[in-house]
């Protein structure tokens, strides 16, 4: 047991009268793959947004490596090595893939002088090319990113996140909108990123086959509250989870 990298404790967040998260507590184990499931509108993305500092939380605490991060701003949290991808894929659409990769390097220890640092050192370029090859976009590295297909943009966004060498990667529906035959390749790449690069993954996913294959622990949200946490088998067979998805009879 290597301990928790992210500790979410009693986090609540509401928008006006809508309670999006209510006293949610989740642990993300270091080096593992943690899944987050739940019906539409159950507060999964809200929880992600809370963790990465996109909006302030109403109550509770969020710790990353023991450090309280619930008061930090988005770029500060990103520089700690806690990175997220977006449900609506976001890449720099008018730059080519290679430039997308080069600007995605870690900005952790950047002084003012490095603003005008060169982007063309061989090591960075080689790493970017390696990752583009890893996601199968090496051939298209000089194409404008916005002209790639949606699935390829998702892969590019994933490669950009790896370029940043994060400690944890929060993936918001990595397989949404991807051709079913490509999904297997993506699962494989996620697993390899976890094993080879040692990146802890925290994944929101609707595709049950994907998440049951991928994650070692899964939490389920419904109506903003944590319903169950456990291994894929436990969660799959939990009557409350089944009820949340299929409705009670």
């Amino acid at each position: 047991m290597s301990g928790s990298l992210i500790e979410v404790r009693g986090v609540s967040k509401s928008f006006g009268g809508v309670v999006a998260n209510k006293e949610v507590s989740i642990d993300v184990a270091e080096g593992g793959i943690t899944g987050l499931i739940g019906p539409n509108g159950s507060g999964k993305t809200t929880l992600f947004n809370s963790i990465v500092g996109y909006h302030p939380i109403d109550e509770g605490s969020i710790k990353f490596k023991g450090q309280e991060i619930s008061k930090l701003r988005v770029p500060d949290i990103a520089r700690l090595g806690l990175l997220r991808t977006f449900q609506q894929t976001r890449i720099y659409s008018k730059m080519d893939c290679m430039k997308n990769m080069l600007i995605s390097v870690s900005h952790r220890d950047e002084g003012l002088g490095s603003m005008f640092g060169s982007m063309h050192d061989r090591e960075t370029e080689a790493f970017a090319e390696e990752l583009l090859e890893f996601v199968g976009l090496y051939q298209k590295r000089f194409l404008i990113a916005g002209e790639l297909s949606f699935g390829q943009q998702k892969l590019l966004e994933f490669a950009m996140a790896l370029m940043n060498r994060p400690k944890v990667l929060l993936l918001d529906e990595p397989t949404a909108g991807i051709n079913p035959t490509l999904i297997n390749g993506l699962i494989d790449r996620l697993k390899r990123a976890n094993e080879q690069f040692g990146i802890t993954l925290f994944v929101i996913e609707h595709n049950m086959r994907v998440i049951m294959n991928l994650a070692d622990r899964i939490s389920c949200l419904a109506h903003g509250e944590l319903l169950a946490t456990g291994t894929p088998d436990e969660v799959q067979n939990d009557p409350r989870v089944v009820e949340a998805y299929l409705g009670a009879h």
């Binding site: 990175l83 977006f86 976001r90 720099y92 900005h107 005008f116």
Partner: protein, 352 residues
């Protein structure tokens, strides 16, 4: 690198034109000086507006601030500024040749620095606005600065300041200011082109494409945004200082803060040539200036109609500008290509 060679030859053409035209056709010297000023305005505007996507309508404020800062320095090193301006030009101060040149050079440097510091101070506030709000906010800023200067009697208020008179013949004076604007415009382009090649260029492009994503990736967005406004401010401030001396008399509304003319022209020129490209603003400035001068000479009365028509056609039919359109038309000329190799090690796999 053929792109590098192309850039060098374009610099060669510009510099040759800049030297030869005033020598062969001295009558065009002052128009060429304005051309270089417009090139500088378009190129510097494009850093914030084109490459970073923050459409500023207020960069003219830096121009006027630089102009006034240099005037205060140039007069201040010889005489009491408040007394000088209070007399509305009735005081004739005789600047020695040495005083004039010291003042001019100090004033240009000071103009650039004051405008840059101004951008540094207001940048973090203004650049928190996005999209049209930034455009409107900066327009308001330029108008507000002009109004404040109009009401500030220390710098002469609405009645302006008479600048020190150039020591020597008027013709050699206009040559000096021509050379200064020419050098500044080329220098601005060289510096800006060089920093686009660094991390800075990629970062401001990333901010243009998706600022939320850039933040989520940990880029120090505020730092980059403010710098991308300070660089234009520096060059605009120096250009303002030169232009003030060239005009001989400065006042807030027409000379120092011409929001409705140069303030809009610089945006129109960058859009016409292709915003977010290295050479688009230069091309746009040259075309725009030619149309402006030709209509002024041959179609007087229709000049504003012609300029307005250019802007409308530009916005409605080809927003990406001339070079942007060329890039869409012939992408491979601009390095947008598919690599035949599928892997880094170079084994070209058979096409599936």
């Amino acid at each position: 690198m053929s792109a590098q060679k192309l850039d060098l030859s374009l610099y060669g053409v510009l510099i040759a034109a800049g030297i030869l035209v005033p020598l062969l056709a001295p009558a065009f010297t002052s128009q060429m000086a304005i051309l270089w000023l417009m090139v500088l305005m378009a190129v510097t505007w494009d850093m914030t507006g084109g490459q970073m996507g923050y459409n500023s309508l207020g960069n003219i404020a830096f121009f006027g601030i630089g102009m006034y800062a240099s005037a205060v320095v140039q007069i201040g090193i010889v005489y009491d500024v408040a007394e000088y301006t209070a007399a509305f030009g009735a005081i004739k101060v005789d600047f020695t040749v040495e005083q004039y040149w010291t003042g001019l050079l100090l004033g240009i440097g000071f103009g650039g620095v004051v405008a840059t510091v101004f951008a540094l101070i207001i940048g973090p506030f203004m650049l928190g606005l996005r999209g049209p709000y930034f455009a409107i906010g900066t327009l308001g800023l330029a108008v507000a600065v002009a109004e404040l200067v109009s009401g500030w009697s220390y710098v002469g208020g609405g009645s302006g300041i008479s600048m020190p008179v150039f020591p020597g013949e008027a013709a050699s004076g206009s040559q000096v200011f021509y050379v200064l604007l020419f050098v500044l415009a080329i220098l601005a382009h060289v510096v800006i082109r060089a920093i686009y090649k660094t991390r800075f260029g990629l970062a401001i492009n990333a901010i243009r494409d998706d600022e939320d994503k850039a933040e989520a990736m940990g880029i120090h967005t505020t730092r980059y945004k403010v710098t991308a406004w300070m660089v234009p401010a520096f060059f605009m401030g120096m250009a303002g200082a030169v232009f003030g001396n060239m005009s001989g008399f400065i006042e807030p509304l027409e000379v120092a803060f011409p929001t409705a003319t140069f303030g809009i022209f610089m945006v129109a020129m960058a859009l016409l040539g292709g915003k977010g490209t290295v050479w688009g603003p230069v091309l746009g400035a040259i075309l725009f200036h030619i149309v402006k001068e030709v209509t002024w000479t041959h179609l007087l009365g229709w000049q504003w109609v012609a300029l307005g028509a250019i802007i409308i056609i530009n916005i409605v039919y080809f927003q990406q500008g001339i070079l942007g359109w060329a890039q869409d038309r012939w992408p491979s000329l601009f390095g947008v290509t598919v690599d035949e190799k599928t892997t880094r090690t170079g084994q070209a796999e058979a096409a599936k």
